[in-house]
Amino acid sequence: METVVTLTLNGEMVSARADQTLLDVIREQKIDLPTLCHMQGLSERGGCRLCVVEVQGAPRPMAACVTPVTEGMVVRTHTPELEHQRRLVVELLLAERNHVCAVCVVNGHCDLQWAAAKLGVASVRYEYLHPDLTMDASHARFVLDHNRCILCTRCVRVCDEVEGAHTWDIAGRGIKTRVITDLSRPWGDSPSCTSCGKCVQVCPTGALFEKGATVAEMTKERDFVGWIIRGRTKREWTW
């Protein structure tokens, strides 16, 4: 029998299974919490820090996606301090690379753009770094633009956990971190890439897109991850 725990969420008592994360429970309760690195069906990374929540007794905000629920937990999701921190995270992401929505292939269909709009990021208080970053257009069908990558690693995880190719990985540290294909060889030369396009679809920004797409033309299909996982684990193929 499943263990059930009870916790307090924004002043309300709620029940949850003990194997759930806080983010699962928060979403079950229809509380709107922004995320960028989280993707249903993939392992959690806890990297983007947009889903931070306040847990009573914890010394600092916790990322809800990687925090298991525990009995008696008291959680708040939308304090002014948390909202401030989420805005700060988005501002830093925008300042770190060259995000130019007006000429981006996913303008209007971008998770980062939506998060910024939802959180009320009207301006960026930090100096833009304007790094000199390249594009990899060597693949026949897809393009990687490092200028728009937020290092959420959804591409890495979907390629490893769902497609099973593990073409994508991470190289470098800190601000020099980059997503790479097959030990940093051009994507078009990758022997492991199956050209399935899952990475392109799960990418939250315009960092991965279909070749030939022009401004605002690329929309992304994300539901397939859930369909595949459900089919694989429950043998249910109801798309």
């Binding site: 007006a102 000429v103 292939v105 390249t134 594009m135 257009a137 060597s138 393009v143 078009g188 070749k211 030939g212 797409a213 022009t214 401004v215 605002a216 033309e217």
Partner: protein, 476 residues
């Protein structure tokens, strides 16, 4: 004692610029220069991007004529793909380009130059603006707004928005034209025709009569003219052949394929302006022998015929004193003729049965590593030239903008007006405005031409040779 007069900034043009006048010991104008003081660097920062993105990136060069950049850039992309775009796509691109000609020319004539033409070159500067124009001649001001709106709406109905529509792409366009939108444009056309016919009447009956001296002085000099003509030699704005003609009407180059433009056009740089100085290569830069003009005056001079009935009739009137009109003031007339032509072509194209065809985009991969795209922007011939690698990433970008090609001619026009009107050292506001109007004739878009942006205040300073400020004027 020689002196230097500075007009900074020049107003009612698109972009940032200043004018300096150099007076000799007798107070006569020795030299005049039109300086473009802004820089943007599109050619450099586009390197490393995909050519697919270029129409939308280069459209950001300008908010007035983004469509010209969309056209030239998408056409350069077509040549990289090596495709012939679907017939309907070409018709739709032409429609958008004509919409742009209408809106941009309307802005230039009615609102940027209109205050000078209707209120007077040296009228009270407090009134010599759009507000003063509305007060004195509300119908004229309203006509300008309505005509510009029509042009903008053609662009919006095709591309989804009137500024920076991401619609024109390598291989064609993204969306076909619906029957409803076509009918909406057709419904709006009669009013646009009425407005342009009123404006032509006003120009011929009143503006020219009031500006006899200006007509003779402003930009009246022999020069070459360069622009596109259709394959048959008609008035053209989207494609065709490059023609070069001198002001005696001698055709130096009857029809060069645009991709060979480097055979006739080279660029020089000067240390005092960000705007390059293109010149006709066979004649060279020395002594500005290769000075040429582009834009409405050049196009209307270059073509053998207009190709639409009403514009053809106006073209004959335009040429009533000779095959070639060299007076810069006639840029205004040429602009109005082009609006009329564009409206007629819009009507003709909208009534073509295949304009609503759904097949509007050719698909291909990179097939050529070099591409040239050309279009006639409202201000003149626009070239986009790209070099890409096999993946389509840009290795080098060269943009030759209409306003740049008029640079030598604008400098000569300013010098000519200064020599005719500046006498002695005492400056007055009307003089400054005459110099500025000389620039406005060309309707320069400096944001484009330096792949740079702006709005102009106006300061004029008169300096002695030792830098001493002798006289000065400032506009608010």
């Amino acid at each position: 004692m020689s002196q230097r007069i500075v007009i900074d900034p020049v107003t009612r043009i698109e972009g940032h610029a200043k004018i300096t006048l150099h007076l000799d010991d007798d107070g006569q104008v020795a030299d005049a220069r039109f300086h473009v003081t802004e820089f943007r660097g599109f050619e450099k920062f586009c390197e490393g991007r995909l050519f697919w993105e270029m129409p939308s990136i280069t459209a950001r060069i300008c908010g007035i004529c983004p469509v010209s950049h969309l056209m030239a850039s998408a056409k350069a992309g077509d040549t990289i793909l090596g495709v012939r775009i679907p017939t309907a796509a070409e018709k739709l691109r032409r429609l958008m380009n004509w919409g742009q000609i209408v809106q941009s020319h309307a802005l230039s004539f009615f609102h940027l130059s209109g205050p000078d033409l209707v209120l007077g070159m040296e009228s009270d500067p407090m009134q010599r603006n759009l507000a003063g124009l509305i007060a004195l001649n509300p119908e004229f001001a309203r006509d300008g707004i309505r005509l510009r709106q029509f042009g903008q709406d053609v662009i919006r109905l095709l591309g989804g928005k009137s500024i920076h529509p991401a619609w024109c792409v390598p291989g064609g366009v993204r969306e076909p034209l619906s029957v409803e939108k076509r009918d909406e444009m057709l419904r709006r056309l009669p009013e646009a025709f009425e407005i342009i016919e009123r404006a032509l009447k006003l120009y011929k009956n009143e503006v020219v009569a009031k500006h006899r001296r200006e007509y003779d002085v402003y930009g009246n000099f022999p020069s070459l003219f360069i622009g596109l003509v259709s394959n048959q030699g008609g008035l053209e704005h989207y494609d065709g052949l490059l023609r070069v003609m001198d002001s005696d009407g001698t055709i130096l180059e009857p029809g060069l394929a645009p991709k060979r433009f480097r055979e006739v056009i080279a660029e020089a740089v000067e240390p005092w302006t960000y705007l390059k100085m293109p010149y006709y290569k066979p004649y060279g830069y020395e002594g500005h022998a290769g000075l040429y003009r582009v834009g409405p005056l050049a196009r209307v001079n270059l073509c053998d015929f207009a190709g639409t009935p009403k514009a053809e009739a106006e073209l004959r009137l335009f040429r009533s004193n000779g095959r070639v009109v060299r007076q810069g003031f006639a840029y205004h007339y040429a602009r109005l003729i082009e609006i009329l032509f564009a409206l007629e072509k819009i009507e003709e194209t909208l009534n073509a049965p295949d304009v609503t065809n759904k097949h509007v985009r050719s698909q291909a991969e990179v097939n050529h590593l070099h591409g040239v795209g050309v279009s006639e922007a409202p201000r003149g011939t626009l070239f986009h030239e790209y070099w890409v690698d096999e993946a389509g990433l840009l290795q080098s970008v060269n943009l030759i903008i209409a306003t740049g090609q008029n640079n030598l001619a604008m400098n000569r026009t300013v010098l000519q007006i200064a020599r005719a009107y500046v006498a002695g050292q005492k400056l007055h506001e009307g003089l400054l405005n005459r110099l500025e109007h000389g620039i406005r004739l060309f309707d320069p878009c400096l944001s484009c031409s330096t792949h740079a942006a702006g709005q102009m205040p106006l300061t004029v300073e008169l300096h002695g040779p030792d830098g001493e400020l002798l006289d000065g004027l400032q506009r608010g």
